[in-house]
């Protein structure tokens, strides 16, 4: 359960707000909910490691928006998303709650799966462009073996 939840939360956090918006509108009967925490913009300190493997240090912050909701059916959802889009975090929280309830299959197929595919598609294009810039070395014959 936690692994599934980690996975869909990751998709919701990293997706673009307008993509979440697009697939959100495909859900019929959008649920009634109340805010446990209204959308709130803040920062998270991002850490790195010295020499990539050593002790941690503080690199700099990133913006993040969070929100918590309770559905009329009782499920509680938390939305943590990158950036400063309040609607994005609100939708992430509602979707997180829906995914824990009886409508999880519908929400997964209408929102999470297409969002994940969109992201993977963009990543794949980038990785293929990078691969096209990989250097093929060839050594010129120097002639001393003749």
């Amino acid at each position: 359960m936690n692994n599934d939840r980690k996975s869909w939360k990751s998709v919701l956090a990293k997706s673009r707000a307008n993509d979440v918006d697009k697939f959100w509108t495909t859900i019929e009967d959008q649920p009634n909910f109340k805010f446990l925490r209204v959308p709130e913009i803040g920062a998270v300190m991002v850490r790195g490691r010295m020499g990539a493997t050593g002790d941690a240090f503080n690199l700099g912050e990133m913006t993040i928006t969070r929100c918590s909701v309770e559905l009329a059916t009782g499920e509680i959802g938390h939305g943590y998303v990158q950036g400063r889009d309040r609607k994005h975090s609100e939708r992430a929280a509602i979707l997180d709650a829906l995914l824990q309830g009886s409508r999880s299959t519908e929400v997964d197929s209408k929102v999470i799966t297409p969002l994940r595919e969109l992201r993977l598609g963009r990543k794949d294009v980038k990785a293929k462009k990078a691969a096209a810039t990989k250097v093929d070395f060839f050594t010129l014959a120097r002639g001393e073996d003749e």
Binding site: N2, G48, L59, M62
Partner: protein, 364 residues
Amino acid sequence: MYVAVKGGEKAIDNAHAWLAEDRRGDPSIDVLSVAQIREQLSFAVNRVMAEGSLYDPQLAALAIKQARGDLIEAIFLLRAYRTTLPRFGTSHPIETEKMSCIRRISATFKDAPGGQVLGPTFDYTHRLLDFKLAADGDIEEAELASKPLDEAVPHITNFLNAEGLIQQEPNTDTEPGDLTREPLELPANRALRLQSLARGDEGFVLGMAYSTQRGYARNHAFVGELRIGDVTVEMDIPELGFSIEIGEVEVTECETVNQFQGSKTEPPQFTRGYGLVLGQSERKSISMALVDRALRWKELGEDNLGAPAQDEEFVLYHCDNIQATGFLEHIKLPHYVDFQSELELIRKLRREAQSHLQTQEAAE
């Protein structure tokens, strides 16, 4: 005597209105959108995020627009905004080993596993002005390889580690200090030095790094590896009781491999410098790695050669362009009362000197 001075409101209002008009420029030219800056001036956006110490391309682009392209002013705006944000927490250290690299090169190993991946680089361009850009030309899409680059590319320093030829980075789970929470005190540890350099002025850090190359505390650096790409950011969420991924940031990482003859305390081996910067900035990350290495002289048992790049007080107290510009530019603001007292002092000294002279002349 203390004289309170008021006034100038009207002049200030008018000055700001003119600033806004000048920012817009010639109204017959299309207005520049924040999205255009974000997408098309991405290195400016990256610099503002790195030195503003806040990863948010949209805000950085807005700051650049507001500052009319003055990047230090834009960094100032972003830093000021940053202080208004509540801190929700601290991420796990990012795992650059798992970076989705768009660029990854090594100057030390030609056949490094994972390969030399150039990415979207200025290197090997001829630095000739491209007049086609002055006309609105369509661009061709970049070539796609049939297969994507490997998911995770191993770090080059691992290979030297395997032979035991390179100094190991200690991993002691020490909680790093945060100079946005407590003022920087000296001597600083490496965590604070790296945080300070990561947000330090690119020009200043570049100059310091260059000075080490020219012989002021030379440490002969090779770029063991330089990589740029996206890394996932993960954080513990108390209300969930587990950690989740909260986003993805693009970073530039540089690991230098430095010649080292050995010292009183360390055997001959390669030593390391480390640069990590938010966004794409390889000049800054290489510079950071060189300066990081120079500042490590004490822990490596090297001699203090008195070089500026070895002097942590000099480097860390002067690399922050917002502190520097704040103090520098404040001297143009009204100092009428300060100056009045200086004026009084000089007049008094001259009067005294004059009367001293007259008494002397009278005595002779």
